[in-house]
Symmetry: C2
Subunit: 275 residues, 2 copies
């Protein structure tokens, strides 16, 4: 009898980040590896030290969307799944006595996401930027005059008091995570494809690409231009489309896109997350 | 005789960030105000405590592009200028003896930008994520077993030794900064306009918008879809186009865009930075 070793999952730590929460919610009891940056997560999967990685890809509270795209463009990995995580920010501290707080720690992005709350509830308390929401919880655990804006998970890991929950100014706050691995997913009939394309450097080039998708009855769900590596002020486009790269209309559109001459690379097809 | 008080400029600190470098390069000797986050920079200008603000807007080493857009979309300010800054990352420490380094500190994004260099030159030395490149320099100044990836300015401010310069894996590394204020700039004949538009939620809507720009002979230099505030998985598009909003072809295209029914907001017209 052989015992199968469960797949290892890599995520960007420290423990208690929203990436950690996403990894736990996708792969409950599998062994997890923590890495200090998104690029390291991608490297761990690339070297086979983890079978899969979980990285934030859109609207992240960890300021990491471009880091994820850069790492995926540099490597040879595929996106094989996605997860949409509701991000609820908590104000936490060792003590619930707000008059004790001398600073509020968090990553700059969550600090920005709840600045109306902070201006109203903790007026005049200085902000203290940290590298992650989990690092902010760590600061609060070490010093009872520091409050942190962080996840419920980080508060629990650091045994902090949750002073207020759901403090973000815009209640609808979600982060999309990608699961990355050495292959993408098989078609399910309800899929999404992430791809990167460049266009010839001439006016109307992007419009012609959108016509290709339109003609094939393909919906775009995201488009983003990004500076091309090593070519200053030339751009590539990162796009999410509905459908799997093996669906006939998508396959045909991708073939037409390649013929346009700009270059296209599929980062993966995978089942659409529930919204 | 009256002495005119020079305008105050706000930037995201701490001192030595690339934002600080950009503010110095644009407004040499004007009084400068440091704020802990991009949102605070925007607030300082909004409340009139600073006349202008300098915020990173594209390809930032400070992970802040979305924070800048969110803050601009929330407020009533305009972009009135831009600056393109060459970003050269340095490895710095109190000592040039690399065998002493027990960790390398920096913001996750610059750590990712020079990870090939770090893997080659400092193999096995753990990465330590910080809130900014300037915070990393601070760590190195406090502890001689910590090296930092940071700017030359931060190294000088903290009196650290520059061990290696230009260590980023892709030599072409630039960040675009926006100058923000209560009005945008007058036409110069070589301008750019940043705008945000939404489209009706139907296939082909973006293609129709691009046709409007195309018909008016307007070049797009950037496009990015972003989640609309408060409307989960609806998107707005942030776009840079060539031309000033008072140029006749741009003014006409903007009017046509408004008639499309999705909504458009001009964040400002300003002279194009030299490339």
């Amino acid at each position: 009898m052989t015992s199968r070793v469960p797949a290892t999952v890599a995520y960007m730590g420290p423990q208690g980040t929203f990436s950690h929460l996403a990894a736990r919610s996708l792969f409950q009891d599998r062994p997890a590896l923590e890495a200090p940056t998104i690029a390291e997560v991608v490297d761990l999967v690339g070297r086979g030290e983890a079978e899969l990685g979980v990285v934030p890809i859109e609207n992240s509270t960890e300021g990491s969307v471009s880091a994820t795209l850069d790492a995926l463009l540099d490597g040879a990995l595929f996106i094989c799944g996605e997860l949409v995580l509701d991000v609820s920010l908590c104000l936490v501290a060792k003590t619930a006595d707000r008059s004790r707080y001398r600073r509020v720690a968090s990553h700059p992005q969550p600090l920005a996401q709840c600045r109306k709350f902070l201006a109203r509830e903790l007026p005049g308390v200085p902000l203290f930027p940290t590298a992650s929401t989990a690092a902010a919880a760590r600061e609060a655990a070490l010093d009872d005059t520091t409050a942190a804006v962080t996840s419920r998970l980080a508060a629990e890991l650091e045994q902090l008091t949750i002073v207020a929950d759901g403090i973000q100014d815009h209640p609808e706050n979600a982060t999309r995570f990608a699961v990355i691995g050495h292959a993408d997913a098989a078609p399910t009939g309800n899929d999404k494809t992430t791809l990167v394309f460049s266009t010839p450097h001439e006016r109307g080039a992007l419009r012609r690409v959108l016509e290709i998708f339109d003609d094939a009855a393909i919906n775009l769900t995201r488009i983003e231009s990004r500076p091309a590596r090593g070519k200053r002020w030339e751009y590539v486009f990162v796009t999410d489309i509905e459908g799997h790269r093996h669906d006939p209309n998508v396959a045909q559109a991708l073939a037409r896109l390649e013929n346009e001459g700009g270059g296209v690379r599929v980062l993966g097809s995978y089942p659409q997350a529930k919204k």
